[in-house]
């Protein structure tokens, strides 16, 4: 709840983001009543994350806070709550593997083991060449195709180590 009654201290909104980004965020702000423009925080964070190669820095979150007249901690809360936001660098392909109950029963463990071995990284890590990163996530709502993972915006279901190999090999 930042109070902008001190124009000398506040940055001009135009200075915070580029024209393009502003248009994008403003379009989300317009979807809510003016006094609830903070509701655009999730969209704004997503836009900034995409723009920054898949992850958010503290500075970017501070910028979002300033742009939406929120206190920075409020934005940190949102960014740390949702697992779609990354606060550390990620690989070009972010593999989000579900280990929740349906996937677990269908042996997601073996998929995890396979991935870790193949990529030589653990959860939260990035391969040396920067191509892949691995993340453990909760149910993605695709239990019917368990075990599953998500890479980028795409779901891959009914995984086996062989299927995983062919998927990963097929990515650039």
């Amino acid at each position: 709840m930042k109070i902008l009654n001190n124009p000398l201290q506040a940055r001009n909104k135009e200075e915070i983001f580029s024209e393009e980004i502003r248009q994008d965020i403003d379009c989300w702000i317009a979807k809510y009543p003016p006094e609830w423009k903070q509701s655009a925080v999730m969209a704004a964070l997503r836009i900034m994350q995409d723009d920054n190669g898949g992850w958010l820095t503290t500075e970017l979150m501070d910028d979002v806070a300033e742009y939406l007249d929120m206190s920075p901690i409020h934005v940190y809360e949102v960014a740390t709550f949702y697992s779609m936001y990354e606060l550390k660098p990620v690989g070009k392909h972010k593999i989000c593997i579900c280990t929740n109950i349906a996937c677990m029963i269908n042996d997601s463990d073996s998929i995890v083991k396979h991935l870790k071995k193949k990529l030589e990284i653990g959860f939260g890590e990035v391969t040396e060449d920067g191509r892949f990163s691995l993340k453990e996530v909760e149910c993605l709502g695709a239990c019917g195709g368990a075990p599953m993972f998500q890479i980028g915006r795409k779901y891959y279901e009914n995984l086996t180590p062989q299927v995983v190999d062919s998927i990963l090999d097929g990515l650039e």
Partner: protein
């Protein structure tokens, strides 16, 4: 909603309540206990801890009492097997990740979790797996954190958002990984931050200064009154072995509610400072020597008598308005008993041209609680948030419910509510107010009529005047920087005329804990007890310094830090023949100019009375023994009075003194009337670089200046020269450069900080800080030189 009450039944008892009230509020009012952690009567309902589950008839599952509205015929049971089972279950879950380290926890013995666990929990834990641990975090010198103990009630988070007005703490992460903190390395800087210590139901947030100093059950609790700002917050002082260990707020809905500013909470540390003067001291042949009371008193009396001689006018008494009513009353009685009218408590004022036509007992004029129901307020020369945090909190509530608040200030201030700020150099502040006066068609005469006529009416002035006019309940408040303004008299008369024209009221925010009391006690050159005008007017604080007297009596004031113009008071004291100082501290500033230093009791060591901004008299007892050989100041004054052979110094207790004053002033109320419509010429100018010297929050009096933890906070910044980027450029100086400030021939070396809060044409150099104790007035022209 109708006003009709509904009837509900709780544990077989019939209760009446307004429909829609939360069940927990109804049971609390009826004295039925329901356990809770996240619910707090002063905060919004978050209903996340689930400790308050109760059984409601016809509802299959237990319901949380803190967010269940009551309705007709509801049957509640707080102790049924279902309710007890739910409570016990919640308790078990809450304790799963709690470290149970009560033996090393400062909260132990006064912990809500401990208490509720005893009442509602199980006696053995079934949980044998690993518990989570949260790494230590440093959030500043006032609050110790042990977030491993946190139960995620979010009271501290809601406090920031809803009360302090700055969201500093938050809950990041989720599920088992959720932690409270600042996320980035940062201290919590709100001027009310300490309240989270009281709110936290566990030992996750505790007071750092009193950490490991005592267990709760070893402390004795006493009632008292906070000694800094003019709110007079009610406090509980906790003592052990004759020492003040900590200070907590005491609930008083009409004054501080349940809150306390950090200054009031942590300043007690200054009591045990190494600077305490514990033995009377006199200067013999230029050397300071510790002596017995008898000798010191005789020395003082002889000194005063021979210096003042038969000419009463040679005695000047300057007293701090943080002294008690009793002390102030005796000080003026003693001064007048020596045939002198020279007594003043307005040490931070320089413009006294209004004396005689001034408000007899300046104060809020409304109640502190009443601030909340204002619908318009114009504050002149006030950084209310730092100077009077509780008043700012009430104003914030008013603003949140729609009041229009504006400020006319010499600096931009950080606020926690929506307000318009008109910032300008001191001279232009007067113009700004004149412009509002013109827009409001205020009636003025003489000089001021001319000034108003010449003023331009800006759009902003019009809108402020309009806001005040259309308000049912509006005020114009004069703050601490208005009182220190070189044109205070102009500001007061303009403000009072605007108030009259807009049908609002004039209000003063007194600076110190007993500023109102000082007026009632008669610690003024032109007004005696009960603020009645005296026949022969004495010299005011300014005159006592600019025309040096031979004898000075100082009480509770340090020349370098408590006066408007330190260089002026120092030179006056240097020329004097005898300077007697009643002081709790042995300070450099006094030792260099006094001849006798008499050690007096500090806060919590003496009984007395303070009158707050709204005019409420609050008495308290001495709680711990004064340190060393220090004595309550009223006793010292009484003995001095006797030794000086003045009549009427035979009181046996501070109560006797109070009774005596009451016989004059018990009925005297706050009176903000101003009996003139004009004032003198403008003193402040737009020529040259004009100094703005505020008094920083943690430099406002001798006690807080020695409170070590407060002095380590970010709010206690060292002295500096602050300029706007524009001004720095035109003065040809650069950030971080060391500059020499020259004011009336006095010099001080200070670093330069570029600060956008300063208007062009002005330089912000706070007073009352080490480094500025040799400079001139709080306001005035200065020049800057390269070091």
């Amino acid at each position: 909603m109708t006003d009709e009450l509904v009837t509900i039944e709780v544990d077989g008892r019939e209760l009446k309540a307004k429909p829609g009230t939360m069940l927990i509020d109804v049971t609390d009012a009826a004295g039925i206990n329901i356990p809770r952690f996240c619910y707090h009567k002063k905060l919004s309902v978050s209903a996340n801890c689930r400790m308050c589950l109760v059984e409601v008839e016809k509802v299959p599952k237990p319901l949380p009492a803190c967010c269940t509205p009551v309705n007709e015929g509801m049957k509640v049971s707080t102790r049924s097997p279902m309710a007890l089972g739910a409570q016990k279950g919640t308790m078990e879950f809450l304790l799963i990740n709690h470290p149970l380290d009560c033996p090393i926890c400062d909260q132990g013995g006064e912990c809500e979790l401990q208490d509720v666990a005893v009442g509602y929990g199980s006696d053995v834990s079934r949980y044998s797996e690993a518990k989570r641990v949260v790494p230590q975090r440093d959030i500043g010198p006032l609050i110790a954190t042990d977030f491993t103990r946190c139960i995620h009630c979010t009271r501290c988070v809601r406090f920031g958002a809803e009360i302090a007005g700055v969201r500093e703490l938050g809950a990041t992460g989720r599920g088992e990984h959720m932690t409270i903190g600042t996320f980035v390395e940062k201290s919590v800087d709100s001027e009310m931050s300490g309240n989270v210590i009281d709110l936290c139901p566990v030992g996750s947030l505790t007071a750092k200064p009193s950490r490991y100093k005592a267990r709760a059950w070893e402390l004795t609790q006493h009632d008292s009154v906070a000694p800094h700002d003019s709110v007079g917050s009610n406090i509980h002082v906790h003592t052990r072995n004759n020492r003040v260990v900590r200070v907590h707020p005491k609930e008083n809905e009409s004054i501080n509610e349940i809150w306390l500013s950090d200054r009031d909470r942590f300043s007690y540390e200054g009591l045990n400072s190494e600077d305490r003067l514990t033995q009377p001291m006199v200067r013999k042949n230029g050397e300071w020597q510790e002596v017995e009371w008898q000798e010191a008193l005789e020395f003082a009396v002889k000194g005063l008598q021979s210096a003042a001689g038969s000419d009463g006018d040679q005695l000047a008494t300057l007293v701090s308005a943080n002294s008690t009513l009793e002390e102030l009353y005796l000080a003026q009685k003693l001064t007048r008993g020596m045939d002198s009218g020279n007594i003043d408590h307005r040490l931070r004022q320089s413009d006294f041209r209004l004396d005689g036509n001034d408000s007899p007992v300046p104060g809020l004029g409304i109640t502190i609680q009443g601030i909340e129901s204002l619908d318009a307020a114009l504050l002149v020369g006030s950084n209310v948030r730092k100077e009077q945090p509780i008043i700012a909190h009430r104003l914030r509530k008013a603003a949140k419910s729609g009041a229009k608040v504006s400020f006319i200030n010499p600096l931009w201030i950080d606020l926690h509510f929506e307000a318009d700020q008109f910032v300008s150099t001191p001279a232009v502040m007067v113009d700004n107010l004149a412009s509002i006066a013109k827009a409001a068609s205020a009636k003025l005469t003489g000089n001021l009529a001319k000034l108003v006529k010449a003023a331009e009416v800006s759009e902003t002035a019009k809108s402020v005047a309009e806001q005040l006019k259309s308000a049912n309940n509006g005020v114009i408040m004069l703050g601490n920087q208005a009182a220190a303004h070189p044109d205070y008299s102009l500001l007061v008369v303009l403000a009072s005329a605007i108030a009259e024209a807009t049908n609002t009221s004039l209000s003063y925010i007194p600076a110190l804990s007993n500023s109102v009391g000082a007026a009632l006690a008669g610690a003024l050159p032109h007004r005696g007890p009960a603020a009645s005008l005296v026949e022969k007017c004495g010299a005011n604080a300014q005159m006592m310094q600019s025309k040096p007297r031979k004898a000075y009596l100082l009480m509770g004031a340090e020349p370098g830090f408590d006066f408007w113009d330190p260089s002026l008071i120092n030179s006056a004291l240097d020329q004097a023949e005898c300077v007697v100082a009643l002081t709790a501290y042995h300070s450099e500033s006094l030792a260099s100019c006094a001849d006798v230093m008499l050690p007096i009791a500090g806060f919590a060591e003496t009984s007395g009375t303070l009158v707050n901004a709204e005019g409420t008299w609050q008495s308290f007892n001495g709680l711990v023994k004064p340190q060393g050989d220090a004595r309550p100041a009223w006793k010292v004054l009484r003995v001095l009075g006797n030794l000086l052979d003045i009549d009427g110094f035979d009181q046996n207790s501070s109560d006797d003194v109070l009774e005596e004053l009451k016989s004059h002033a018990a009925e005297t109320a706050i009176d903000n009337s101003v009996s003139t419509k004009t004032a003198g010429e403008l003193n402040s100018s737009t020529e040259g670089l004009y100094r703005i010297g505020d008094v920083p929050m943690y430099a406002s009096d001798a006690l807080v200046r020695r409170a070590s933890s407060l002095q380590r906070t970010n709010s206690a910044e060292p002295a500096a020269v602050r300029l706007s980027a524009n001004q720095a450029k035109s003065s040809d100086v650069e950030e971080e450069e060391t500059l020499v400030v020259v004011q009336d021939g006095n010099r001080a070396q200070l670093p330069l900080i570029i600060d956008p809060r300063v208007p062009d044409g002005a330089v912000w150099i706070s007073s009352a800080l080490p480094g500025t104790e040799k400079l001139g007035g709080q306001f005035g022209v200065v020049t800057l030189e390269k070091a």
